[in-house]
């Protein structure tokens, strides 16, 4: 057995075997057991996660296997995932259905909304009992002092200072129309960040701010929520949406979801939000205690330990990066070889790989959703595309950089083009190719943290949750392992270099 192409062949073989193992593992980990658990989704804000968790736990208590895919993304992602059957149910708001999902059809009644949902194969539960709409809030002492209980009462106090989020200042149902609806005389209105607005209100810099009516901070600051006595703000009643098929496949699940209807009110939702967002309890614990109070039974829930969480995230991250990088290597090296062989294809291939790299990573991720749905596959596809450029470019550069005298010696010797490639050119280019793979691996490990935005898990998940809960510890729980993994990968590739790069070439560099 001639050894000249061995390092390279062995490497490619290892890559292939690695991919196979990954795919088998991935399929076995994600494929359906006899019966699929009901998949609950949630959006990436605390209230949605709590409602998703409550539903999942409630189903489990009813003996229906259920899992909660938390923080999958925004409205579009969740609704599309529901329509395509990637999830079975998720919490939504009637106002969002009206104002966002079916905006062009401008439905006016709940019957119309039901019809529109039915067209998409989706049904809606009864209202959960609270309305998370916009509202105006004041410190209770100040409100009592001025005798203000409703928005109409503000008319008598033109001197009051308002601090609104910029979104509220510009929205159709925001400040301009609110002012007209109530003939409000105030002109001292400043725009500010939502979190800062709470602080400005607390220290008296402003008197009135806009808020979501179930914000945890309302409970924390004990704010007075002014009554919308002219019903200006549209209603954002919380509900669960579920797939038509769920009622046939698992009728018990629908019944369980319906049991939750009417169990909430704004004060209770606010308190639940507060326990997670301000007191730092886990969503699962809060959901379990809610269900215990509501249904009287002891609810078992699984609290993830930091170690099990880290292990799970590491596994997810490795799957994302491993599959994407392995596919990247398998595609990019032949592309690089082709670019080197064909003067005509070379600029096209290099430019195409370059252009992919310039697509903002978030956009690339979102482009993949309509093609591949949510979670793993679109994230892997995006990562794969991102991994290509460094490998293609380094393969091409490594081959193009071979001394002409060596290339000609191989040719003059009478080796076939194939033998030249595998026994002379690729081994000579291997340091450059490996450097490209290393760069790709480091980029991919970092980029994979964005995968959590579309429900792919990985180290991005704790970062995302940490941002949502303003919890630096949680952010570090994702950021530190991601950085560590990149360093480990770099170290592994340095070791791999000893195996793959022929010894004769390493001597050269030592010289």
């Amino acid at each position: 057995m001639n050894r000249s192409g061995d390092g390279f062949k062995r490497f490619m073989l290892a890559v292939l075997i690695g991919i196979l193992i990954y795919i088998i593992w991935y399929i076995s980990a994600h494929s359906a057991p006899a019966r699929d658990p009901v998949k609950l989704g949630s959006k990436k804000f605390t209230e949605s996660v709590i409602l998703g968790e409550i539903a999942a736990l409630h189903l489990s208590e009813a003996g229906i296997p259920a899992e909660h895919l938390a923080e999958l993304g925004g409205t579009r992602i969740l609704f599309n995932a529901l329509v395509s059957g990637e999830i079975d149910a998720y919490p939504e708001y009637t106002g969002t259905l009206r104002e966002e999902i079916f905006r062009e059809r401008s439905p006016t009644s709940s019957a119309q909304i039901r019809e529109l949902l039915a067209e998409r194969g989706v049904r809606i539960t009864g209202e959960l009992g609270f309305n998370n709409t916009y509202a105006l809030g004041m410190l209770p002492d100040r409100a009592d002092e001025l005798g203000i209980g409703s928005i109409s009462d503000l008319r008598g106090h033109p001197e009051l200072e308002f601090g609104f989020t910029s979104e509220f200042l510009n929205r159709g149902d925001g400040w301009p129309s609110l002012r007209d609806a109530y003939d409000l005389p105030q002109r001292n209105v400043s725009g500010m960040d939502h979190d800062l607005a709470y602080r400005a209100l607390a220290n008296g810099a402003v008197d009135v701010i806009d808020l979501y009516s179930t914000d945890a901070e309302i409970a924390y600051y004990d704010l007075r929520v002014l009554a919308d006595d002219r019903s200006h703000f549209p209603s954002y009643q919380a509900v669960y949406l579920y797939r038509n098929e769920l009622s046939e496949e698992t009728p018990g699940a629908v019944a369980a979801l319906e049991e939750l209807a009417g169990r909430f009110d704004a004060d209770r939702m606010r308190a639940l939000n507060r326990r997670v967002k301000i007191d730092g309890e886990s969503e699962a614990a809060v959901a379990a205690s809610f269900l215990e109070r509501e249904f009287g039974a002891e609810v078992a829930y699984r609290e993830e330990t930091a170690a099990s969480r880290l292990l799970a995230r590491t596994g997810e991250h490795l799957v994302l990066v491993g599959i994407a990088l392995a596919l990247g290597i398998l595609v990019a090296i032949p592309l690089g070889v082709f670019a080197y062989r064909s003067a005509a294809a070379s600029p096209v291939i290099l430019a195409a790989a370059g252009i992919i790299q310039t697509v903002p990573s978030l956009a690339l991720l979102v482009f993949m959703i309509p093609l591949l749905g949510i979670a793993g596959p679109p994230a892997i596809a995006a990562l794969f595309l991102y991994s290509l450029l460094p490998i293609v470019r380094n393969t091409h550069a490594g081959l193009a950089g071979i001394a002409p005298s060596l290339r000609e010696s191989a040719e003059a010797l009478g080796l076939t083009a194939r033998d030249r490639l595998f026994h002379v050119e690729l081994p000579l280019a291997s340091p450059s190719i490996l450097a490209g793979i290393k760069t790709s691996a480091v980029i991919t490990i970092g980029f994979a943290t964005l995968g959590a935005l579309i429900g792919a898990g990985g180290y991005g998940q704790p970062i995302l949750t940490g941002i949502r809960l303003d919890d630096y510890g949680l952010i570090l729980e994702g950021a530190v392992p991601a950085a560590a993994l990149a360093i480990v990968a770099q170290g592994l590739f340095d070791l791999l270099e000893r195996v793959i790069v022929p010894r004769g070439l390493r001597l050269k560099r030592a010289n």
């Binding site: 001639n2 060596l406 010696s409 003059a412 009478g414 022929p502 070439l505």
Partner: protein
């Protein structure tokens, strides 16, 4: 053995070979010489199909060199360049036997052949496991020669094979190389820019200038009956006549 007919080759419109015809006789050394850019290396490279001419034919043992025949002709030709052109990722032995192994020749016979060549080129068999970067310049050229000779080719093409070596090593290698080639009786084309080297190796010197052959003959003829003023100029520009009097006086 080798014949070129009306060969022309241009690079980006610059003619490198202009209508060259040349017959290389069997079993002797023919030296191609001339100043840089005269086309001698270009001519050598067309002989092994590294370049294909714009016009004209290369005949190898009567057979025209083409895309179809080039591999077969290369297997019957040994090619050695300045600094050897050894593959740095392979040991000396694997450099030498790469082609035979790829052609699926018997590994045992190839091994025997390698050791036979070690004796012929006086290369220490113990150094076969070394990589090119671990060898001296002279050893590298011996390995390159062994690689060229492995399949016992009919023709040897040598492009400035000794130019990168220091003078003492070079001088002793010239000696050995000449003996080896003559003993093996290979048809050889040697490209050099050094008239003394050309004269030492060959009585058949082909002097080129600007893509054309100016004069062909032994050194004495170039000196005594120059075909053009350039020939005299070229001979004078080289080292003292006592050194190039057919044999080296060292």
């Amino acid at each position: 053995m080798l014949e070129v007919q009306n060969l022309s080759k241009s690079f980006n419109g610059e003619p490198a070979l202009r209508d060259i015809s040349l017959t290389v006789p069997r079993r002797v050394i023919t030296a191609l010489i001339g100043p840089s850019g005269c086309g001698k290396s270009t001519l050598l490279r067309t002989l092994i199909g590294l370049l294909f001419p714009d016009r004209g034919t290369v005949l190898f043992d009567g057979e025209p060199l083409s895309e179809r025949t080039v591999l077969r002709i290369r297997h019957r030709t040994g090619y050695v360049i300045q600094e050897g052109g050894l593959f740095p990722h392979l040991t000396a032995e694997r450099n030498i036997r790469l082609l035979a192994d790829r052609l699926g020749r018997s590994r045992r016979e190839t091994g025997e052949r390698v050791h036979e060549l070690c004796a012929i080129t006086r290369f220490p068999a113990g150094a076969l496991a070394r990589y090119p970067y671990e060898l001296s310049g002279g050893q590298r050229q011996r390995v390159a020669l062994m690689r060229a000779l492995l399949l016992d080719p009919d023709v040897l093409l040598l492009d400035e094979p000794l130019a990168a070596l220091d003078p003492i090593v070079r001088s002793s290698l010239q000696q050995e190389l000449k003996q080896t080639i003559e003993r093996l009786g290979k048809t050889t084309v040697l490209v050099t820019h050094d008239l003394a080297e050309a004269a030492w190796f060959s009585r058949d010197i082909v002097l080129m200038r600007a893509g054309r052959i100016v004069q062909r003959g032994p050194i004495s003829q170039l000196r005594e009956r120059p075909a053009a003023p350039f020939v005299t100029e070229f001979v004078r520009a080289q080292r003292g006549p006592h050194e190039i009097n057919g044999a080296r006086s060292r």
